[in-house]
Protein backbone atom coordinates (compact mmCIF):
# COMPACT_ATOMS: atom_id res chain seq x y z
CA UNK A 1 0.00 0.00 0.00
CA UNK A 2 1.52 3.26 -1.08
CA UNK A 3 0.22 5.97 1.24
CA UNK A 4 2.67 8.67 0.28
CA UNK A 5 1.82 8.95 -3.38
CA UNK A 6 -1.91 8.44 -3.04
CA UNK A 7 -4.11 10.74 -5.08
CA UNK A 8 -6.76 12.79 -3.31
CA UNK A 9 -9.97 10.75 -3.36
CA UNK A 10 -12.54 12.22 -5.71
CA UNK A 11 -14.96 13.93 -3.41
CA UNK A 12 -12.82 14.19 -0.31
CA UNK A 13 -13.75 16.69 2.32
CA UNK A 14 -10.08 17.36 2.89
CA UNK A 15 -7.74 19.47 0.83
CA UNK A 16 -8.21 22.45 -1.47
CA UNK A 17 -7.48 20.63 -4.76
CA UNK A 18 -10.30 18.21 -4.10
CA UNK A 19 -12.71 21.14 -3.89
CA UNK A 20 -12.39 21.80 -7.59
CA UNK A 21 -14.09 18.46 -8.08
CA UNK A 22 -17.33 19.34 -6.36
CA UNK A 23 -20.01 22.01 -6.38
CA UNK A 24 -19.53 24.60 -3.66
CA UNK A 25 -21.77 27.39 -4.88
CA UNK A 26 -23.88 28.02 -7.95
CA UNK A 27 -22.75 30.46 -10.66
CA UNK A 28 -25.42 30.92 -13.29
CA UNK A 29 -28.82 30.45 -11.74
CA UNK A 30 -32.45 30.39 -12.74
CA UNK A 31 -35.13 31.59 -10.38
CA UNK A 32 -38.57 30.20 -9.49
CA UNK A 33 -40.57 27.59 -11.36
CA UNK A 34 -44.30 27.33 -10.66
CA UNK A 35 -46.54 24.45 -11.73
CA UNK A 36 -50.06 23.19 -11.18
CA UNK A 37 -52.36 20.36 -12.21
CA UNK A 38 -55.31 21.31 -14.38
CA UNK A 39 -58.08 19.46 -16.15
CA UNK A 40 -56.07 17.95 -19.00
CA UNK A 41 -52.62 17.70 -17.44
CA UNK A 42 -49.94 19.97 -16.01
CA UNK A 43 -49.15 23.64 -16.56
CA UNK A 44 -45.72 24.97 -15.71
CA UNK A 45 -44.26 28.47 -15.87
CA UNK A 46 -40.71 29.75 -15.62
CA UNK A 47 -39.00 32.92 -16.75
CA UNK A 48 -36.08 32.90 -19.13
CA UNK A 49 -33.49 34.53 -16.96
CA UNK A 50 -30.05 33.22 -16.07
CA UNK A 51 -28.48 35.36 -13.35
CA UNK A 52 -24.76 35.57 -12.74
CA UNK A 53 -24.85 36.53 -9.11
CA UNK A 54 -26.83 39.75 -8.99
CA UNK A 55 -26.37 40.46 -12.71
CA UNK A 56 -29.18 39.41 -15.03
CA UNK A 57 -26.74 38.08 -17.55
CA UNK A 58 -28.64 35.66 -19.78
CA UNK A 59 -32.15 36.39 -20.94
CA UNK A 60 -32.92 33.49 -23.22
CA UNK A 61 -32.58 30.44 -21.04
CA UNK A 62 -35.23 27.74 -21.46
CA UNK A 63 -35.67 26.25 -18.04
CA UNK A 64 -38.35 23.73 -18.94
CA UNK A 65 -37.83 20.68 -21.14
CA UNK A 66 -39.91 17.69 -22.22
CA UNK A 67 -38.70 14.31 -20.98
CA UNK A 68 -39.85 11.36 -23.06
CA UNK A 69 -43.50 11.30 -24.09
CA UNK A 70 -45.08 11.82 -20.72
CA UNK A 71 -43.06 14.24 -18.60
CA UNK A 72 -42.00 17.86 -18.29
CA UNK A 73 -39.04 19.02 -16.21
CA UNK A 74 -38.55 22.54 -14.92
CA UNK A 75 -35.49 23.61 -12.96
CA UNK A 76 -34.26 26.49 -10.90
CA UNK A 77 -30.74 26.86 -9.58
CA UNK A 78 -27.48 26.21 -11.40
CA UNK A 79 -28.12 26.07 -15.14
CA UNK A 80 -25.10 23.90 -15.95
CA UNK A 81 -26.30 21.30 -13.46
CA UNK A 82 -29.72 21.39 -15.11
CA UNK A 83 -28.02 20.68 -18.43
CA UNK A 84 -26.19 17.77 -16.82
CA UNK A 85 -29.49 16.40 -15.51
CA UNK A 86 -30.94 16.66 -19.01
CA UNK A 87 -28.05 14.57 -20.27
CA UNK A 88 -28.73 11.86 -17.65
CA UNK A 89 -32.40 11.87 -18.54
CA UNK A 90 -31.60 11.73 -22.22
CA UNK A 91 -29.70 8.50 -21.65
CA UNK A 92 -32.45 7.17 -19.43
CA UNK A 93 -35.17 7.81 -22.01
CA UNK A 94 -32.97 6.48 -24.79
CA UNK A 95 -32.48 3.13 -23.05
CA UNK A 96 -36.15 3.05 -22.19
CA UNK A 97 -37.04 3.50 -25.86
CA UNK A 98 -34.48 0.94 -26.96
CA UNK A 99 -36.44 -1.80 -25.21
CA UNK A 100 -39.07 -1.16 -27.85
CA UNK A 101 -41.74 -2.90 -25.83
CA UNK A 102 -45.11 -1.56 -24.78
CA UNK A 103 -43.70 -0.04 -21.61
CA UNK A 104 -42.40 3.47 -21.03
CA UNK A 105 -41.16 5.48 -18.07
CA UNK A 106 -43.88 7.76 -16.79
CA UNK A 107 -43.57 10.94 -14.74
CA UNK A 108 -43.64 9.02 -11.44
CA UNK A 109 -40.69 6.89 -12.50
CA UNK A 110 -38.69 9.88 -13.76
CA UNK A 111 -39.41 11.80 -10.56
CA UNK A 112 -38.17 8.94 -8.42
CA UNK A 113 -35.10 8.46 -10.57
CA UNK A 114 -34.26 12.14 -10.12
CA UNK A 115 -34.82 11.85 -6.38
CA UNK A 116 -32.30 9.00 -6.22
CA UNK A 117 -29.77 11.01 -8.26
CA UNK A 118 -30.18 14.20 -6.20
CA UNK A 119 -30.04 12.42 -2.88
CA UNK A 120 -27.01 10.37 -3.84
CA UNK A 121 -25.12 13.44 -4.98
CA UNK A 122 -26.01 15.21 -1.76
CA UNK A 123 -24.63 12.31 0.23
CA UNK A 124 -21.33 12.63 -1.60
CA UNK A 125 -21.20 16.34 -0.73
CA UNK A 126 -21.32 17.15 -4.45
CA UNK A 127 -24.88 18.23 -5.09
CA UNK A 128 -26.54 19.18 -8.33
CA UNK A 129 -27.54 22.66 -7.30
CA UNK A 130 -31.12 22.60 -8.53
CA UNK A 131 -34.70 22.53 -7.38
CA UNK A 132 -36.60 20.48 -9.90
CA UNK A 133 -40.26 20.31 -10.81
CA UNK A 134 -41.38 17.17 -12.62
CA UNK A 135 -44.89 17.04 -14.04
CA UNK A 136 -46.66 14.80 -16.49
CA UNK A 137 -49.61 12.66 -17.36
CA UNK A 138 -49.73 9.00 -18.30
CA UNK A 139 -52.80 6.88 -18.96
CA UNK A 140 -54.99 9.63 -17.60
CA UNK A 141 -53.08 9.85 -14.34
CA UNK A 142 -51.73 13.33 -13.65
CA UNK A 143 -48.51 13.60 -11.69
CA UNK A 144 -46.70 16.63 -10.27
CA UNK A 145 -43.71 16.44 -7.97
CA UNK A 146 -40.62 18.29 -6.88
CA UNK A 147 -37.07 17.38 -5.78
CA UNK A 148 -34.62 19.70 -4.12
CA UNK A 149 -30.84 19.66 -4.19
CA UNK A 150 -30.74 17.78 -0.93
CA UNK A 151 -33.13 15.14 -2.11
CA UNK A 152 -36.32 16.32 -0.41
CA UNK A 153 -39.12 15.17 -2.67
CA UNK A 154 -42.89 15.19 -2.62
CA UNK A 155 -45.93 15.32 -4.87
CA UNK A 156 -48.69 17.83 -4.77
CA UNK A 157 -51.41 19.47 -6.86
CA UNK A 158 -49.30 22.59 -7.19
CA UNK A 159 -45.59 23.15 -6.54
CA UNK A 160 -43.05 25.92 -6.79
CA UNK A 161 -39.33 26.39 -6.29
CA UNK A 162 -37.23 29.15 -4.76
CA UNK A 163 -39.09 32.38 -4.17
CA UNK A 164 -42.15 30.74 -5.61
CA UNK A 165 -42.46 28.76 -2.42
CA UNK A 166 -42.98 31.95 -0.46
CA UNK A 167 -44.87 34.09 -2.94
CA UNK A 168 -46.71 31.74 -5.28
CA UNK A 169 -47.80 28.85 -3.08
CA UNK A 170 -50.02 30.94 -0.78
CA UNK A 171 -51.87 32.18 -3.86
CA UNK A 172 -52.18 28.64 -5.19
CA UNK A 173 -53.44 27.34 -1.89
CA UNK A 174 -56.23 29.92 -1.97
CA UNK A 175 -57.19 29.77 -5.60
CA UNK A 176 -56.33 26.34 -6.98
CA UNK A 177 -59.11 23.82 -7.39
CA UNK A 178 -59.59 20.54 -9.23
CA UNK A 179 -60.26 20.55 -12.95
CA UNK A 180 -59.13 24.05 -13.75
CA UNK A 181 -59.66 24.89 -17.37
CA UNK A 182 -56.63 25.72 -19.46
CA UNK A 183 -57.44 29.45 -19.45
CA UNK A 184 -58.00 29.54 -15.69
CA UNK A 185 -54.79 27.62 -15.10
CA UNK A 186 -52.78 30.03 -17.21
CA UNK A 187 -54.40 33.02 -15.48
CA UNK A 188 -53.53 31.59 -12.09
CA UNK A 189 -49.92 30.93 -13.13
CA UNK A 190 -49.63 34.43 -14.56
CA UNK A 191 -50.92 35.85 -11.30
CA UNK A 192 -48.18 34.00 -9.44
CA UNK A 193 -45.51 35.00 -11.96
CA UNK A 194 -46.57 38.63 -11.76
CA UNK A 195 -46.10 38.71 -8.00
CA UNK A 196 -42.71 37.07 -8.46
CA UNK A 197 -41.80 39.63 -11.09
CA UNK A 198 -42.63 42.48 -8.73
CA UNK A 199 -40.92 41.04 -5.71
CA UNK A 200 -38.10 38.69 -6.85
CA UNK A 201 -34.98 40.57 -7.83
CA UNK A 202 -33.73 37.80 -10.05
CA UNK A 203 -36.96 37.53 -12.04
CA UNK A 204 -37.21 39.01 -15.54
CA UNK A 205 -40.27 39.91 -17.53
CA UNK A 206 -39.89 37.26 -20.18
CA UNK A 207 -41.56 33.98 -19.43
CA UNK A 208 -42.78 30.80 -21.00
CA UNK A 209 -45.67 28.60 -20.01
CA UNK A 210 -45.47 24.90 -20.85
CA UNK A 211 -48.30 22.45 -20.84
CA UNK A 212 -48.23 18.70 -20.95
CA UNK A 213 -51.30 16.62 -21.74
CA UNK A 214 -51.92 13.12 -22.98
CA UNK A 215 -51.24 14.43 -26.50
CA UNK A 216 -47.79 15.75 -25.66
CA UNK A 217 -45.92 18.81 -24.55
CA UNK A 218 -46.21 22.32 -25.93
CA UNK A 219 -44.28 25.36 -24.78
CA UNK A 220 -45.39 28.88 -25.49
CA UNK A 221 -43.32 31.49 -27.21
CA UNK A 222 -41.63 33.83 -24.71
CA UNK A 223 -43.86 36.72 -23.71
CA UNK A 224 -44.10 39.44 -21.05
CA UNK A 225 -46.64 40.13 -18.40
CA UNK A 226 -48.36 43.48 -18.16
CA UNK A 227 -47.17 45.31 -15.09
CA UNK A 228 -48.40 48.40 -13.33
CA UNK A 229 -45.96 50.49 -11.40
CA UNK A 230 -48.22 53.43 -10.56
CA UNK A 231 -49.57 51.96 -7.36
CA UNK A 232 -49.42 54.62 -4.68
CA UNK A 233 -47.71 52.14 -2.37
CA UNK A 234 -44.80 52.04 -4.82
CA UNK A 235 -44.38 55.83 -4.65
CA UNK A 236 -43.57 55.97 -1.00
CA UNK A 237 -42.93 52.37 -0.19
CA UNK A 238 -41.71 52.87 3.35
CA UNK A 239 -44.31 55.42 4.42
CA UNK A 240 -46.03 53.22 6.96
CA UNK A 241 -43.01 51.13 7.95
CA UNK A 242 -41.58 52.00 11.33
CA UNK A 243 -37.79 52.08 11.42
CA UNK A 244 -37.37 51.90 7.66
CA UNK A 245 -35.95 54.66 5.47
Amino acid sequence: MNFMASKQPENSLLGPEADSQRTLYPYVTGTSVVALKYKDGILMAADMGGSYGSTLRYKNVERMKAIGKHSLLGASGEISDFQEILRYLDDLILYDNMWDDGNSLGPKEVHNYLTRVMYNRRNKFNPLWNSLVLGGIKNGQKYLGTVSMIGVNFEDDHVATGFGNHLARPILRQEWHENLSFEDGVKLLEKCMRVLLYRDRSAINKLQIAKITEEGMTISQPYSLKTYWEFSAFENPTQGAVGSW
Partner: protein
Protein backbone atom coordinates in the same frame (compact mmCIF):
# COMPACT_ATOMS: atom_id res chain seq x y z
CA UNK B 1 -29.02 -38.05 -28.05
CA UNK B 2 -25.76 -39.86 -28.28
CA UNK B 3 -22.35 -38.78 -27.13
CA UNK B 4 -20.11 -37.29 -29.78
CA UNK B 5 -16.82 -35.49 -30.08
CA UNK B 6 -18.37 -32.00 -30.08
CA UNK B 7 -20.23 -32.18 -26.81
CA UNK B 8 -17.53 -31.65 -24.22
CA UNK B 9 -17.40 -27.88 -24.32
CA UNK B 10 -20.18 -25.35 -24.51
CA UNK B 11 -17.93 -23.26 -26.71
CA UNK B 12 -17.55 -25.96 -29.34
CA UNK B 13 -19.85 -25.94 -32.33
CA UNK B 14 -20.77 -29.20 -34.01
CA UNK B 15 -20.39 -29.34 -37.80
CA UNK B 16 -24.17 -29.23 -38.03
CA UNK B 17 -24.17 -25.89 -36.20
CA UNK B 18 -25.35 -27.17 -32.82
CA UNK B 19 -24.13 -26.51 -29.32
CA UNK B 20 -24.60 -29.86 -27.66
CA UNK B 21 -23.98 -28.70 -24.12
CA UNK B 22 -26.87 -26.26 -24.45
CA UNK B 23 -29.09 -29.02 -25.78
CA UNK B 24 -28.09 -31.28 -22.92
CA UNK B 25 -29.02 -28.49 -20.53
CA UNK B 26 -32.48 -28.44 -22.10
CA UNK B 27 -32.67 -32.19 -21.46
CA UNK B 28 -32.18 -31.47 -17.78
CA UNK B 29 -35.33 -29.38 -17.88
CA UNK B 30 -37.24 -32.31 -19.35
CA UNK B 31 -36.15 -34.51 -16.46
CA UNK B 32 -37.54 -32.19 -13.77
CA UNK B 33 -41.08 -32.64 -12.49
CA UNK B 34 -43.80 -30.87 -14.40
CA UNK B 35 -44.65 -27.19 -14.16
CA UNK B 36 -47.48 -25.54 -16.06
CA UNK B 37 -48.69 -22.02 -16.63
CA UNK B 38 -51.70 -20.45 -18.30
CA UNK B 39 -53.07 -16.95 -18.60
CA UNK B 40 -56.16 -14.95 -19.30
CA UNK B 41 -56.22 -11.22 -20.08
CA UNK B 42 -56.02 -10.36 -16.40
CA UNK B 43 -54.68 -13.37 -14.50
CA UNK B 44 -51.94 -15.96 -14.73
CA UNK B 45 -51.90 -19.28 -12.91
CA UNK B 46 -48.78 -21.36 -12.30
CA UNK B 47 -48.92 -24.92 -11.12
CA UNK B 48 -46.45 -27.67 -10.48
CA UNK B 49 -46.19 -31.23 -9.32
CA UNK B 50 -44.31 -31.57 -6.07
CA UNK B 51 -42.98 -35.02 -5.42
CA UNK B 52 -40.99 -35.55 -2.25
CA UNK B 53 -38.13 -38.04 -2.39
CA UNK B 54 -39.51 -40.06 0.46
CA UNK B 55 -42.33 -39.84 2.95
CA UNK B 56 -39.89 -38.50 5.50
CA UNK B 57 -38.69 -35.52 3.47
CA UNK B 58 -40.35 -32.30 2.41
CA UNK B 59 -40.79 -31.54 -1.25
CA UNK B 60 -38.70 -29.08 -3.23
CA UNK B 61 -39.89 -25.56 -3.69
CA UNK B 62 -40.57 -24.97 -7.36
CA UNK B 63 -42.67 -21.84 -7.37
CA UNK B 64 -41.12 -18.58 -6.23
CA UNK B 65 -42.60 -15.17 -5.65
CA UNK B 66 -40.35 -12.65 -7.35
CA UNK B 67 -42.37 -9.51 -6.63
CA UNK B 68 -45.99 -8.63 -6.00
CA UNK B 69 -46.63 -8.75 -9.71
CA UNK B 70 -44.23 -11.50 -10.84
CA UNK B 71 -43.82 -15.15 -9.96
CA UNK B 72 -41.88 -18.04 -11.45
CA UNK B 73 -42.26 -21.81 -11.66
CA UNK B 74 -39.17 -23.88 -12.43
CA UNK B 75 -38.36 -27.31 -13.79
CA UNK B 76 -34.94 -28.91 -13.86
CA UNK B 77 -32.01 -28.25 -11.53
CA UNK B 78 -33.82 -26.56 -8.67
CA UNK B 79 -30.58 -25.16 -7.30
CA UNK B 80 -30.04 -23.22 -10.53
CA UNK B 81 -33.67 -22.15 -10.33
CA UNK B 82 -33.25 -20.82 -6.84
CA UNK B 83 -30.21 -18.77 -7.83
CA UNK B 84 -32.03 -17.29 -10.82
CA UNK B 85 -35.04 -16.47 -8.65
CA UNK B 86 -32.77 -14.57 -6.33
CA UNK B 87 -31.39 -12.65 -9.32
CA UNK B 88 -34.91 -11.83 -10.46
CA UNK B 89 -35.95 -10.66 -7.01
CA UNK B 90 -32.90 -8.45 -6.86
CA UNK B 91 -33.62 -6.87 -10.21
CA UNK B 92 -37.22 -6.21 -9.24
CA UNK B 93 -36.34 -4.68 -5.93
CA UNK B 94 -33.65 -2.44 -7.41
CA UNK B 95 -36.01 -1.19 -10.11
CA UNK B 96 -38.75 -0.56 -7.56
CA UNK B 97 -36.36 1.39 -5.38
CA UNK B 98 -35.15 3.64 -8.19
CA UNK B 99 -38.43 4.16 -10.01
CA UNK B 100 -41.10 3.43 -7.36
CA UNK B 101 -42.76 1.33 -9.98
CA UNK B 102 -42.92 -2.40 -10.67
CA UNK B 103 -40.41 -3.78 -13.16
CA UNK B 104 -42.28 -4.74 -16.35
CA UNK B 105 -42.12 -8.52 -16.65
CA UNK B 106 -41.14 -8.30 -20.34
CA UNK B 107 -37.94 -6.51 -19.39
CA UNK B 108 -37.09 -8.90 -16.57
CA UNK B 109 -37.48 -11.83 -18.92
CA UNK B 110 -35.06 -10.29 -21.42
CA UNK B 111 -32.51 -9.65 -18.67
CA UNK B 112 -32.89 -13.26 -17.55
CA UNK B 113 -32.45 -14.52 -21.10
CA UNK B 114 -29.34 -12.40 -21.59
CA UNK B 115 -27.92 -13.81 -18.38
CA UNK B 116 -28.55 -17.36 -19.60
CA UNK B 117 -26.95 -16.54 -22.95
CA UNK B 118 -23.69 -15.54 -21.27
CA UNK B 119 -23.36 -19.07 -19.97
CA UNK B 120 -23.54 -20.43 -23.49
CA UNK B 121 -20.58 -18.38 -24.63
CA UNK B 122 -17.97 -18.77 -21.90
CA UNK B 123 -15.67 -21.75 -21.73
CA UNK B 124 -15.47 -21.61 -17.96
CA UNK B 125 -19.24 -21.67 -17.42
CA UNK B 126 -22.05 -24.10 -18.02
CA UNK B 127 -25.61 -23.31 -19.07
CA UNK B 128 -28.26 -23.11 -16.34
CA UNK B 129 -30.06 -26.43 -16.18
CA UNK B 130 -33.47 -25.00 -15.43
CA UNK B 131 -36.49 -23.87 -17.42
CA UNK B 132 -38.51 -21.02 -15.99
CA UNK B 133 -42.15 -20.18 -16.49
CA UNK B 134 -42.34 -16.51 -15.63
CA UNK B 135 -45.78 -15.10 -14.89
CA UNK B 136 -46.20 -11.38 -14.48
CA UNK B 137 -48.10 -8.19 -15.18
CA UNK B 138 -47.02 -5.08 -16.94
CA UNK B 139 -48.60 -2.10 -18.65
CA UNK B 140 -49.98 -4.20 -21.46
CA UNK B 141 -51.63 -6.80 -19.23
CA UNK B 142 -50.93 -10.35 -18.10
CA UNK B 143 -47.99 -12.28 -19.57
CA UNK B 144 -46.57 -15.77 -19.38
CA UNK B 145 -43.05 -16.40 -20.62
CA UNK B 146 -40.85 -19.46 -20.87
CA UNK B 147 -37.10 -18.95 -20.37
CA UNK B 148 -34.85 -21.68 -21.73
CA UNK B 149 -31.28 -22.59 -20.74
CA UNK B 150 -30.32 -21.62 -24.29
CA UNK B 151 -31.06 -17.98 -23.56
CA UNK B 152 -34.22 -17.95 -25.65
CA UNK B 153 -37.52 -16.80 -24.30
CA UNK B 154 -41.02 -17.13 -25.67
CA UNK B 155 -44.37 -15.76 -24.70
CA UNK B 156 -47.24 -18.18 -24.26
CA UNK B 157 -50.95 -18.30 -23.64
CA UNK B 158 -50.34 -21.60 -21.85
CA UNK B 159 -47.38 -23.94 -21.54
CA UNK B 160 -46.03 -26.92 -19.66
CA UNK B 161 -42.46 -28.04 -19.01
CA UNK B 162 -40.79 -30.95 -17.27
CA UNK B 163 -41.47 -34.66 -17.32
CA UNK B 164 -44.76 -35.84 -18.85
CA UNK B 165 -45.49 -32.21 -19.78
CA UNK B 166 -46.67 -33.37 -23.20
CA UNK B 167 -49.87 -34.69 -21.64
CA UNK B 168 -50.54 -31.32 -20.04
CA UNK B 169 -49.65 -29.53 -23.28
CA UNK B 170 -52.17 -31.63 -25.17
CA UNK B 171 -54.86 -30.69 -22.67
CA UNK B 172 -53.91 -27.01 -22.87
CA UNK B 173 -53.79 -27.05 -26.66
CA UNK B 174 -57.41 -28.21 -26.73
CA UNK B 175 -58.60 -25.48 -24.38
CA UNK B 176 -56.28 -22.50 -24.81
CA UNK B 177 -58.59 -20.49 -27.06
CA UNK B 178 -60.94 -19.98 -24.11
CA UNK B 179 -58.31 -18.91 -21.63
CA UNK B 180 -58.18 -15.24 -22.65
CA UNK B 181 -61.64 -14.52 -21.30
CA UNK B 182 -61.66 -17.14 -18.58
CA UNK B 183 -62.52 -16.19 -15.03
CA UNK B 184 -59.82 -16.49 -12.41
CA UNK B 185 -61.40 -19.56 -10.84
CA UNK B 186 -61.83 -21.36 -14.13
CA UNK B 187 -58.23 -20.65 -14.91
CA UNK B 188 -57.18 -22.34 -11.67
CA UNK B 189 -59.46 -25.23 -12.47
CA UNK B 190 -57.84 -25.64 -15.88
CA UNK B 191 -54.41 -25.51 -14.24
CA UNK B 192 -55.36 -28.31 -11.87
CA UNK B 193 -56.74 -30.35 -14.76
CA UNK B 194 -53.50 -29.86 -16.66
CA UNK B 195 -51.47 -30.95 -13.64
CA UNK B 196 -53.64 -34.01 -13.32
CA UNK B 197 -52.83 -34.94 -16.92
CA UNK B 198 -49.15 -35.22 -16.02
CA UNK B 199 -49.85 -37.55 -13.14
CA UNK B 200 -50.96 -40.34 -15.47
CA UNK B 201 -53.70 -41.84 -13.36
CA UNK B 202 -52.36 -41.00 -9.93
CA UNK B 203 -54.86 -39.22 -7.70
CA UNK B 204 -54.56 -35.49 -7.71
CA UNK B 205 -54.32 -34.16 -4.17
CA UNK B 206 -53.15 -30.82 -2.84
CA UNK B 207 -50.24 -32.48 -1.05
CA UNK B 208 -48.52 -33.30 -4.33
CA UNK B 209 -49.15 -30.09 -6.22
CA UNK B 210 -48.69 -26.35 -5.76
CA UNK B 211 -50.74 -23.64 -7.40
CA UNK B 212 -50.04 -19.91 -7.50
CA UNK B 213 -52.01 -17.00 -8.93
CA UNK B 214 -51.21 -13.44 -9.95
CA UNK B 215 -53.57 -10.97 -11.56
CA UNK B 216 -54.75 -7.41 -11.89
CA UNK B 217 -55.55 -6.37 -8.33
CA UNK B 218 -54.27 -9.69 -6.98
CA UNK B 219 -50.63 -9.85 -5.90
CA UNK B 220 -48.72 -13.04 -6.58
CA UNK B 221 -49.37 -15.64 -3.94
CA UNK B 222 -49.28 -19.40 -3.58
CA UNK B 223 -52.68 -20.89 -2.77
CA UNK B 224 -52.72 -22.78 0.49
CA UNK B 225 -53.25 -26.51 0.56
CA UNK B 226 -56.81 -26.31 1.87
CA UNK B 227 -58.00 -23.99 -0.88
CA UNK B 228 -56.37 -26.15 -3.50
CA UNK B 229 -57.94 -29.31 -2.11
CA UNK B 230 -61.36 -27.66 -2.11
CA UNK B 231 -60.97 -26.70 -5.74
CA UNK B 232 -59.83 -30.21 -6.62
CA UNK B 233 -62.87 -31.62 -4.90
CA UNK B 234 -65.16 -29.13 -6.57
CA UNK B 235 -64.21 -30.13 -10.10
CA UNK B 236 -63.79 -33.79 -9.39
CA UNK B 237 -67.43 -33.86 -8.33
CA UNK B 238 -68.44 -32.23 -11.62
CA UNK B 239 -66.43 -34.85 -13.51
CA UNK B 240 -68.13 -37.79 -11.78
CA UNK B 241 -71.78 -36.74 -11.82
CA UNK B 242 -73.03 -36.19 -15.34
CA UNK B 243 -76.70 -35.62 -14.45
CA UNK B 244 -78.08 -32.09 -14.80
CA UNK B 245 -79.33 -32.10 -11.21
CA UNK B 246 -75.85 -32.78 -9.92
CA UNK B 247 -74.21 -30.05 -12.03
CA UNK B 248 -75.98 -27.02 -10.47
CA UNK B 249 -75.17 -28.54 -7.06
CA UNK B 250 -71.52 -28.86 -7.93
CA UNK B 251 -71.51 -25.37 -9.43
CA UNK B 252 -73.11 -24.03 -6.25
CA UNK B 253 -70.50 -25.90 -4.23
CA UNK B 254 -67.70 -24.37 -6.27
CA UNK B 255 -69.27 -20.92 -5.98
CA UNK B 256 -69.88 -21.16 -2.24
CA UNK B 257 -66.47 -22.71 -2.06
CA UNK B 258 -66.26 -23.80 1.53
CA UNK B 259 -69.18 -25.60 3.19
CA UNK B 260 -70.49 -27.91 0.46
CA UNK B 261 -67.02 -28.97 -0.69
CA UNK B 262 -65.94 -29.69 2.86
CA UNK B 263 -68.99 -31.87 3.34
CA UNK B 264 -68.31 -33.80 0.13
CA UNK B 265 -64.60 -34.11 0.72
CA UNK B 266 -64.76 -37.44 2.52
CA UNK B 267 -66.85 -39.06 -0.24
CA UNK B 268 -64.93 -37.97 -3.35
CA UNK B 269 -61.41 -38.82 -2.22
CA UNK B 270 -62.47 -42.33 -1.35
CA UNK B 271 -64.03 -42.86 -4.78
CA UNK B 272 -60.78 -41.94 -6.55
CA UNK B 273 -60.09 -40.24 -9.89
CA UNK B 274 -63.13 -39.78 -12.11
CA UNK B 275 -62.67 -40.79 -15.75
CA UNK B 276 -62.67 -37.81 -18.09
CA UNK B 277 -65.31 -37.86 -20.84
CA UNK B 278 -63.61 -35.45 -23.15
Amino acid sequence: MFRNQYDTDVTTWSPAGRLFQVEYAMEAVKQGSAAIGLRSKTHIVLGCVNKANSELSSHQKKIFKVDDHIGVAIAGLTADGRVLSRYMRNECINYSFTYESPLPVGRLVVQLADKAQVCTQRSWKRPYGVGLLVAGLDESGAHLYYNCPSGNYFEYQAFAIGSRSQAAKTYLERRFKNFSDSSRDNLVKDALMAIRETLQGETLKSSICTVAVVGVGEPFHILDQETVQQMIDAFEIVGEQEGPAAEPDAAAAAAAGQEAAAADQGGSTEEGVAPMDI
